[in-house]
């Protein structure tokens, strides 16, 4: 039998054009990055197993499971609250690993359902001094420092598209960093929405591997 070559490509391969976009300004107000090569597993506590799941998370990742509306950094992974009794575990893809749930199966056996979402979502990172102003056009969630500090997560909608939105550590220039996980099939649409919203501030676009973030 003939073997075929299967090239892996991001659903945003055509949409994301690294370089500058939007207004011509000395410093881009918004920096957009598509983060590629990540593993994403949804961990959903089974009925009545919330405490047991929280314990298993602590044991496996070495940190407390994220409280509601929180995202936490753990050993080699970011844990993002995604709704009652559920969270997402995001990590850089390990070369040669095809089934990220395999590494978790033992820890969550019988207490939580695991679902591999790695290729089901795209991850877009937004930073820059105008990132918050840009996002304010797209979401009704209040992103002010006082209500949406570093480590806050929201399961919400952007442009009628379901997203997981969370804030990670500020970038070096002190500007906030927001992350959006979006269903792959909606990624192209939401990418263009974001680029349109950011155009007036000037945009710097790049792609990055999750391992380098």
């Amino acid at each position: 039998m003939v073997d075929f070559v299967w090239n892996v490509r991001s659903p945003l391969q055509q949409a994301v054009m690294p370089g500058r976009a939007g207004a011509i300004v000395p410093f881009a107000g918004v920096k957009l990055a598509e983060i590629r090569d990540f593993d994403l597993v949804q961990i959903f506590a089974r009925r009545g197993q919330r405490e047991a799941t929280a314990k298993a998370v602590k044991k496996h990742y070495g940190v407390d499971a994220p409280a509601p509306r929180q995202a936490v950094s753990a050993k080699g992974a970011t844990l993002i609250w995604s709704g009652p009794d559920q969270l997402m575990a995001l990590s850089a893809r390990k070369p040669g690993t095809f089934r990220p749930v395999d590494a978790l199966r033992e820890s969550f056996e019988g207490i939580a359902s695991l679902s591999d979402q790695s290729d089901g979502r795209c991850l877009i990172r937004m930073s820059g001094l105008q990132a918050r102003a840009m996002l304010a056009k797209l979401t009704s969630v209040d992103l002010h420092d006082s209500v949406f500090p570093v480590g806050t997560a929201a399961t919400t909608s952007i442009d009628h598209t379901a997203v997981n939105l969370w804030r990670s550590e500020n970038s070096e220039d002190g500007s906030p960093v927001f992350n959006v996980l979006v269903f792959s099939s909606f990624a192209d649409s939401i990418w263009h929405t974001i680029v349109d919203a950011a155009a007036e501030y000037g945009i710097e676009i790049e792609t990055r591997s999750a391992a380098s973030v």
Binding site: R69, P84, D85, T156, A162
Partner: protein, 108 residues
């Protein structure tokens, strides 16, 4: 109008979908050997499926947070003023709710 989801916090109503009155309960129907329904069963189902009160004032309603955490909620709302009096997770909608019930049962 905004709804304070017990899981997500306050969100715009565009994230929610309205189902309707949370009061009607599905009639309980015992299985009867001869295959005939119980007395009044059809009327009870007719009422459950079709008849709704047109409430002017406080009302319990089902809302679905589909644009957010995908939880079903029971919202007490004043239909005249749109004032929202309370929001709670709908019973039986998820593990969290069951946990709360279990925790309560444990303390009693």
């Amino acid at each position: 109008m905004r709804i304070a989801c017990p899981f997500c916090g306050e969100r715009e109503n565009g994230e929610f979908t309205y189902l309707g009155d949370a009061k009607p309960k599905r009639p309980f129907v015992a299985v009867i050997e001869d295959g005939k329904g119980a007395e009044g069963e059809q009327d009870a189902f007719y009422e459950y499926v079709y008849l709704r009160d047109n409430v002017a004032g406080e009302m319990s309603e089902y809302w679905y947070h589909g644009g957010g955490c995908r939880s079903w909620l029971v919202v007490k709302r004043n239909t005249l003023t749109h004032e929202i009096l309370s929001v709670a997770a709908a019973p039986g909608t998820g593990a969290a709710v069951v946990d709360v019930a279990m925790a309560k049962a444990g303390t009693e």
